[in-house]
């Protein structure tokens, strides 16, 4: 489409295509639309479209066509950059800019697109320094000083376009350039041009902020420049010397903090800049849109850090000005809803980014006012957040602001040593009290009250879905902060929580008793009003959550320590405490604490614990009185959650971990104390009671078994647990599969089994140990053997009773596997191995019962997952063999089977997913291996198994052999299955490339087909995996030097695929590395074929200029690596040249 031949014709064609695209859907057919789209696509791909585009821009009246012309110019400039004269690029840029200037009434989207083209030209030009940016700024500043709002808006658009084009590599237009290029452009830009933009913006804002009475048009210009200022202040300053990988990571970070380079010092330390933004906000704070920008600007300024500050005193000065400005901005105003989040962001950034030493260095009066202000805002936002909840607002601005401020508190008080002792106590008391108040019911609290103190209309019984998180997770951050503040003000908060909780439990007890009497007096009478109960449950719910977070931290893995504040608090008061009374209060959850003589001399932290135990006891007694229907499962969850958290930290406290220990603590729950024994017994009883009365509440049952696991997962605790008779009863009861335990859900039964096994590794004499295993593990085996060894098992295996028995056994096996630890793997592996062999038999028996087959595979998955990393060679072999046999049986029973029932596909999908998980687990042995050549099994085996009959590779390849034929294209549409499958294939190619050529023909072919399919028509993630698999395959070929093998032929085919992908198709730049590595290795292997590919590509070029450029580019590509060899250095050089190659000629070749 040359301008000379029928430019008018082209325009007519484009205009009518635009009409089709703009027409309402009902007016044009799909084909018409596609055709029209095609016209534009091929127009944009046409060669050197500059003349015709200019022509279009000057003559056409159709906006959409103008837009497309601008796009075409932008794409063509980048594509043909190396073919264009610098002067013509220069004049193109001038043309575009003038064009926009002369047409103030252009549609916004057309104008922005043209400016984008300008920005792209400027950016591309900065690479070869051919285009000078300065010219543009001169023009823009003239536009700004024109005073004409329309022109000023245009100037702002130009700056915005430049800014976003240079700002990051993800936001920029895809112009096919490398990360390094984007990075170095950005670095140049941020040192100079960015500051120019900022200065221009500041001037405009200053000018406007001086004006009274702005009209709407001026105010809209003002808003645009404010947004631009925000963009500059949110600039993610790229530090020098950041590698490509890090650039991407760096730029993906959200919430950019302002860290300007040193050259910005003068600009940002100028006090007028910060002042300006405070002034601006004051001026526009009632406009909620603009206020968001101005507050965000201030928040960015509050986050400033890094080399911009020459020394600490400069930083302190800056901070002092900031705090002063903030306080004078907030004081005396009524904060608007739209300001809450912005203001809390400023505070949060300031507290996070400035070191504590800075905070204490500002004038103390100023700092005091700041903390007072923070306290006041926190309480006030908290109350407003509660109101939002009552009104069920969609947009919870105060909740967000409250979260931010509570988080800031946590940061602030974490380094208490910088502040004088007790500095924060009064503030903490205020924030803590207001939190409690918002969460308690009237009269003490304000829960569900509207602003004027009226109870909100009756909350309807709304359905709560399982997907909704529990409050303890939903508000975990808030609770962590409140817990921390509670510790700081322990003297106030612990007694407060105790008295509130004791009071609510007493009322709950009374209320339940009244219900019971009512039921006894008139049995069967209608339902009772639960409103009072629900209010009490909700109060108790929050009190327990806060108590749990105050007394202990949540940790994963490591042993959580008793918070130092709590320890100090207990020690400080220990002289006023009577140990015996304390123990009596602790040990009497059935009584009110206040009824125990001398109860005021109880250790307060222990009394708080005992108030939770009292709650637990009231609950348990209610279940025994058949009042379970009236109880709240939520409260039940809160109680076991608390007990778990508390036990981890306090139970059998290890005195060695602390400098000083509270006497009441060590007397009440230290090692070898009656107190500890009593608590373990109490918790165990609670667990057993819960599992029987709450088996129908899945979450509560789950939290309960998790508590049980906590009790036994550490040996010191387990030692105490197994001394309880109840523990043995639980074990026996579970082994007998009697109700109620067997009506627990599968996952709960699994975890219960895990706990029972863990308990067996407590310290016992050998006789007790023998007895324990006799009662826990052996019944499982016995029952199982009894079932499967029945003579008529074949006939009765389908009976539901038998199936249930088998399913329960399989679940238990998964639980046993989950209990694996390095010190018990010997026993558990040997025990499970017997079962695994029997499970294979079951697989045969239940071959047409998919739900059982699925669970059997799961047992193998779990065993491999938990144990393979500890197994030495001969044990691994046993497991490999078992897995291999399992897969053989599965394959035999499923090949050639066709099912039509509804869930056939779903069942098969689940089987295959599990099998692949199993194979991946087995493979993981290759990189995670803790075994020390059967160290853990030493002495266990009569001589090593000498012949290595099966290897992981064999099992896995055999598995793949099974999976492949079953893996239909339909099944690959399940994304999780597809990803798992390709992960496995890539693993195999990377770990056992030498096995690939030995595969049976069919398997080899389908493997290669899978790779090709994955590379060409799956997601980019899969495509990358396949490319990664190619390199080791090609290397394998090179090593073997067999030019006849099928693998050699296959790699030749892949060379062409990868070549086309890299050179001819537009591909994701992230893929360049994986594809480049694959290409290089393939090129090494097939040098002649590669030359042919290049030759044929060149010979198809008509244009001699392009031919020459391409030929040069190809020469350069391989210059550093000829002849190509599998040498790392050469490979890296190739990859580097490849990037340049793609950047310079990639675009040329994609043209149709």
């Amino acid at each position: 489409m040359m301008a000379a031949v029928g430019a008018g014709e082209v325009i007519t064609q484009l205009e009518s295509a635009a009409k089709v695209l703009m027409a309402p859907p009902s007016m044009v057919s799909n084909e018409q639309r596609q055709h029209a789209e095609h016209i534009f696509l091929s127009f944009r791909k046409s060669k050197s479209p500059f003349a015709i585009c200019k022509h279009i821009l000057e003559t056409s009246k159709v906006d959409y066509v103008l837009f497309q012309a601008a796009t075409a110019i932008m794409e063509a400039v980048v594509r043909e950059w190396i073919l264009l004269e610098k002067s013509s690029i220069e004049s193109l840029r001038t043309f575009l800019l003038t064009y926009v200037l002369q047409r103030p009434n252009l549609q916004k989207y057309v104008r922005e697109q043209i400016l984008l083209a300008v920005a792209v030209i400027v950016k591309r030009g900065s690479l070869d320094k051919s285009i000078d940016c300065k010219g543009i700024f001169h023009e823009v500043s003239q536009l700004i000083s024109s005073g004409n709002p329309t022109v000023q808006t245009l100037a702002c658009s130009i700056l915005t376009a430049l800014l976003s084009e240079f700002s990051s590599s993800s936001k920029t237009s895809n112009i096919g350039l490398s990360m390094e290029f984007h990075g170095s452009c950005k670095r140049l830009f941020q040192e100079d041009d960015l500051r120019q933009i900022f200065m221009l913006t500041v001037e405009v804002l200053q000018e406007f902020s001086r004006r009274e009475n702005m009209n709407a048009q001026m105010s809209s210009v003002f808003q645009r420049y404010l947004a631009l200022a925000n963009q500059v202040l949110s600039w993610n300053f790229l530090p020098p010397n950041l590698g490509r990988h890090y650039i991407a990571m760096f730029e993906s970070s959200q919430n950019v903090m302002l860290k300007p380079t040193e050259s910005w010092r003068e600009t940002f330390l100028d006090s007028r800049v910060m002042e300006l933004f405070f002034t601006v906000h004051r001026k526009i704070r009632e406009d909620s849109d603009m206020a968001q920008d101005s507050l965000q600007c201030l928040a960015q300024l509050a986050s400033m850090h890094g080399p911009v500050f020459p020394d600490e005193s400069a930083q302190v000065n800056y901070l002092a000005r900031l705090v002063e400005g903030l306080l004078s901005m907030i004081n005396g105003i009524e904060i608007e809803d739209s300001e809450a989040v912005g203001i809390s962001n400023i505070i949060s950034n300031l507290i996070t980014m400035f070191p504590r030493s800075n905070l204490t260095a500002i004038p103390s009066e100023l700092f005091n006012s700041f903390v007072n202000c923070l306290t006041h805002l926190t309480c006030s936002f908290g109350r407003s957040a509660a109101l939002e909840e009552v009104l069920d607002k969609d947009d919870m601005v105060y909740m967000e602001a409250y979260d931010k401020l509570l988080e800031s508190w946590l940061t602030l008080v974490q380094d208490v040593k910088h502040f004088h002792k007790g500095f924060f106590i009064q503030h903490a008391v205020q924030v803590f009290n207001s939190y409690i108040q918002c969460h308690l019911a009237a009269p003490e609290g304000t829960r569900n009250l509207t602003a004027n103190g009226v109870a909100s209309c009756e909350e309807e019984e709304e359905e709560i879905n399982e997907l909704q998180e529990d409050d303890r997770e939903l508000f975990s951050d808030q609770l962590a902060s409140i817990g921390m503040l509670g510790r700081i003000a322990a003297d106030h908060c612990i007694p407060l929580l105790t008295s509130l909780l004791e009071d609510r439990v007493t009322r709950l007890h009374g209320q339940l008793q009244r219900h019971q009497q009512h039921l006894l007096a008139s049995p069967g009478s209608g339902s009772v009003d639960n409103k009072v109960l629900d209010e009490l449950y909700e109060d108790i719910h929050w009190l327990i959550l806060v108590t749990g977070c105050l007394l202990a931290d949540e940790t994963q893995g490591e042993t959580p320590l008793i918070p130092p504040e709590i320890m100090e608090y207990s020690i400080k008061h220990s002289t006023e405490v009577d140990i015996n009374t304390t123990l009596q209060v602790l040990g009497s959850p059935g009584e009110k604490a206040s009824s125990i003589p001398g109860c005021n001399r109880t250790d307060s932290a222990i009394r708080l614990l005992s108030s939770v135990l009292r709650t637990s006891e009231v609950e348990s007694r209610a279940t025994r009185a058949n009042l379970t229907d009236l109880l709240s499962p939520q409260m039940g969850k809160d109680i076991v959650w608390f007990l778990k958290r508390w036990s981890k930290t306090y139970l059998l406290v290890d005195e060695k971990l602390y400098d000083q220990i509270s006497i009441p603590f060590s007397a009440a729950f230290g090692a070898d104390t009656e107190g500890a024994q009593w608590i373990v017994g109490y918790i165990l009883e609670k667990v057993i009671n819960n599992l029987s009365v709450w088996s129908s509440e899945p979450d509560l049952a789950n939290d309960t078994v998790e508590l049980l696991v906590t009790l036994v997962e550490r040996r010191e605790r387990a030692n105490v647990v197994i001394q309880c008779e109840n523990w043995w009863n639980l074990a026996k009861q579970f082994a007998n599969r009697t109700p109620p335990l067997h009506s627990l859900s599968g996952s709960v039964q699994r975890t219960l089994m895990k706990a029972l096994v863990l308990g067996g590794f407590a310290h016992m004499d050998s006789e007790a140990k023998q007895q324990y295993w006799t009662e826990v593990l052996q019944p499982l085996q016995q029952r199982f053997m009894n079932v499967i060894n029945q003579e008529n098992f074949q006939q009765i295996c389908q009976e539901e009773e038998v199936k249930q028995e088998i399913i329960a056994t399989l679940e238990a096996l998964c639980g046993i596997a989950e209990a694996t630890q390095i010190d018990n793997v010997v026993i558990l592996f040997n025990f499970l191995m017997d079962f695994l062999n029997n499970c294979i038999g079951l697989m045969e028996i239940y071959k047409n019962t998919p739900e059982t087959v699925n669970l059997i595979i799961e047992v193998f998955v779990e065993v491999a997952h938990k144990q393979i990393c500890y197994l030495g060679e001969s044990k691994s072999m046993k497991l490999y063999e078992a897995c291999l046999t399992l897969l053989q049986v599965y394959s035999k029973n499923n090949l050639g089977r066709k099912r039509v029932d509804m869930s056939a596909e779903e069942d098969q999908y689940q089987d295959l997913l599990l099998i692949m998980e199993l194979l991946t687990n087995l493979l993981s042995k290759e990189f995670i291996d803790f075994s020390d050549t059967d160290e853990v099994f030493r002495g266990q085996e009569p001589g090593q198994a000498a012949d290595r009959s099966v290897s992981a590779a064999d099992v896995v390849l055999y598995g793949v052999n099974i999976v492949l034929p079953l893996m239909s294209q339909d099944l690959l549409k399940f994304p999780s299955l597809c990803n798992q499958y390709y992960k496995l294939i890539t693993f195999i190619c990377e770990i056992f490339p030498e096995k690939i050529p030995q595969l049976p023909d069919d398997l080899f072919k389908s493997l290669m087909f899978s790779l090709e399919l994955g590379m060409t028509s799956m997601s980019s993630e899969v495509s990358q995996l396949c490319l990664e698999a190619l390199t080791p395959l090609a290397e394998q070929c090179a090593k073997a030097q067999e030019t006849e093998s099928p693998l050699f032929a296959a790699t030749r085919h892949f060379l062409k695929l990868v070549f086309d992908m890299l050179v001819l198709q537009k591909h994701n730049t992230e893929m360049t590395v994986a594809a480049g590595e694959a290409l290089y290795t393939l090129v090494c292997l097939h040098q002649a074929e590669y030359s042919e590919l290049v030759e044929s590509l060149l010979s198809s070029q008509q244009d001699p200029v392009i031919y020459q450029r391409l030929a040069d580019a190809f020469n350069k590509l391989t210059a550093s690596s000829s002849p190509p060899t599998l040498d790392r250095k050469q490979k890296m050089a190739f990859l580097k040249s490849l990037e340049e190659f793609v950047a310079t000629v990639g675009g040329l070749l994609c043209v149709k």
Binding site: E459, E461, E462, E463, I464, N465, E466, L467, L533, D534, Y537, E538, H541, D629, S632, P633, Q634, M635, S695, S696, E697, P698, D699, A701, H742, S743, L744, S745, G746, N792, Q794, Q795, I796, Q798, E799, E800, E801, N848, T849, P850, E851, N854, K892, N893, G896, R897, K898, R899, V900, D901, M902, S903, A904, E906, D907, Q910
Partner: protein, 155 residues
């Protein structure tokens, strides 16, 4: 593999069609009776009425014979009926008048099962005519039976 024991003609002599189970112990992929029909549970979720309410279980099941979807919601303490499901493999030895002739382990031949409609039925017919030996899986529950799968016999 068939150890034909003539004393045990079928195993289900005294087995009842369904048995009760607490709702919370049901599992996804398991079976339950919904609206009087044996169903495979394809989805299960719990909910509660209000924060302090008790759990209710919401189940979606698919009728194992008709493929129709059924739903139910009930308190998790309730007992639900679970159907006794059996699957048996028989060798196909003939097709007559739209009925299958199946060889039982006992050596007897049953001829009371319809050739299923649709693709599976057609495949049975064509494979049978081609002389391929195959096993037919018959699914039975609550006094209803249906052929649901074929599998080529391993020689």
């Amino acid at each position: 593999m068939a150890d034909a024991d003539l004393d045990f003609q079928t195993g289900d002599a005294g087995a009842s069609a369904t048995f009760p189970m607490q709702c919370s112990a049901l599992r996804k992929n398991g079976f339950v009776v919904l609206k009087g029909r044996p169903c495979k549970i394809v989805e299960m979720s719990t909910s509660k009425t209000g924060k302090h309410g008790h759990a209710k279980v919401h189940m979606i099941g698919i009728d194992i014979f008709s493929g129709k979807k059924h739903e139910d919601i009930c308190p998790s303490t309730h007992n639900m009926d679970v159907p006794n499901i059996k699957r048996n493999d028989y060798q196909l030895i003939g097709i007559q008048d739209g009925y299958l002739s199946l060889l039982q382990d006992s050596g007897e031949v049953r001829e009371d099962l319809r050739l299923p409609e649709g693709e599976l039925g057609k495949e049975m017919e064509s494979k049978y005519e081609a002389g391929e030996e195959m096993l037919i899986t018959v699914l039975s529950a609550m006094n209803e039976e249906c052929a649901v799968a074929i599998k080529a016999m391993t020689k």
